[in-house]
Amino acid sequence: MTPRLQRLLLAAAAVSVLGGTLGALSMSTMGEELVYYWSPTELHAKGDAARDATVRIMGMVVDGSVEWMPEEQRLAFRVTDGSEEVAVEGTGAPPQMFREGIGVVVEGRLHADGVFRSQTVMVKHDNAYAPPAEGEMPDEVYRALQASSAEGT
């Protein structure tokens, strides 16, 4: 085998492995079985199989469902995928980007009482980046929030 033929065969083999792997990955259903998170609907569909296993679920924080108990460092909220909801309870303060309506990925277990208890709340934001709207600087938003919560207590 001449060196040139050897090189060409190597190239053909490597390129076909590359193409084959990518083709198989893009066609395969691995994405459906080995998922990073479940939606609330999928969590419910698993039924008892989902209990007592550590899983991640992803959903949007339901408007008006967030309850933060600073004394106990406890956080309660509900997440939705548009059709079903899951009640989540976490310990510790969530990331600063956490708010009503934002996507979150929570890692934890579904307990028998139907509450998903989690130690890790992660924010899944979208790919939009924009400056604050006219007259709305982040720290002003924050101060306004602080002021309103101070009035409330």
């Binding site: 967030v66 600073p70 460092q73 600063q96 980007m97 708010r99």
Partner: protein
Amino acid sequence: MSPDQAAEVGSGVVTGGWTYVTAAYCVCWTVLVGYVASLWWRHPRGEA
């Protein structure tokens, strides 16, 4: 968790965080400068 951080739960707005910004820009410069230094360091001596 400081009371300050607790007070802003649910705001959805990241406040501060300059440490992370500085660290990220420093990482960029450190790696670039370090890589250029390694190019210099690995070059055989006595050659242009």
